[in-house]
């Protein structure tokens, strides 16, 4: 349990990069980019975790209860919104590229560009 979550982080990152490199379809590639980014959420929340602590909300528990790190959670929230924004923009690019090129294979896109 000591390092296992971080190994999972490295695995997600590697798998996502593998997907990007071997992808033959831009939308598939964009989804793989989402996977790459998801490794950063797991890493962020992983480093801020504290065994046996509560979530950082003091609505129904006393203020001095040990709680996990709220900062990484705020960072992860920011990260999730950034992901949504970047993905939306990339999708728009892909949709338009499909219209112009008739294909979304990165390999073929280059040949068609001329």
């Amino acid at each position: 349990m000591h390092i296992f979550p971080f190994v999972v982080v490295a695995w997600i990152l590697g798998v996502g990069l593998y997907g990007i490199v071997t992808s033959r379809h831009l939308v598939h590639q964009i989804v793989c980019l989402i996977v790459v980014q998801s490794s950063t959420y797991v890493l962020l929340l992983g480093v801020g975790y504290r065994t046996g602590a509560v979530a950082p909300y003091f609505f129904d528990v006393p203020v001095h209860t040990p709680a996990v790190d709220p900062v990484v959670q705020a960072l992860a929230l920011t990260d999730v919104v950034v992901e949504a924004a970047v993905t939306a923009l990339l999708l728009a690019l892909a949709v338009q590229a499909q219209k112009r090129f008739g294909t979304l294979d990165p390999q073929e896109l280059v040949q068609l560009k001329g």
Binding site: W11, G19, V27, C32, Y41, Q98
Partner: protein, 98 residues
């Protein structure tokens, strides 16, 4: 509807630490497998559905990492909104590919 206790967080008072460990390891393994599945499924609409499931798994993981706020975001954005955007984009792309 507006009773905040309905959304009360999972606290260690409800789940003892050893059980929490088991839970976390299980979910982590599932997340790793989910990420692999997302990458390896090359058939597009199916991949988006797998991505949605992966988002759901991540949301559960964040819950057991005591991050309910991120869980909510991941649920709304990662498991619902993003797959929906992808499906909309695919609907358009596939229609033209035919």
């Amino acid at each position: 509807m507006t009773d905040p206790h309905l959304l009360a967080v999972v606290t260690p008072y409800t789940i003892p630490v050893p059980l929490m460990d088991v839970l976390q390891v299980t979910v982590l393994v599932l997340v790793a497998a989910g990420a692999t599945a997302v990458v390896l499924v090359r058939d597009l609409p199916r991949q988006v559905i797998v991505l949605s499931g992966y988002g759901l798994l991540l949301a559960v993981l964040f819950l057991v990492f005591q991050a309910p706020d991120v869980t909510l975001s991941e649920l709304t954005i990662g498991a619902v909104a993003l797959p929906m955007l992808l499906l909309l984009a695919l609907a358009k792309i596939r229609r033209r590919e035919k």
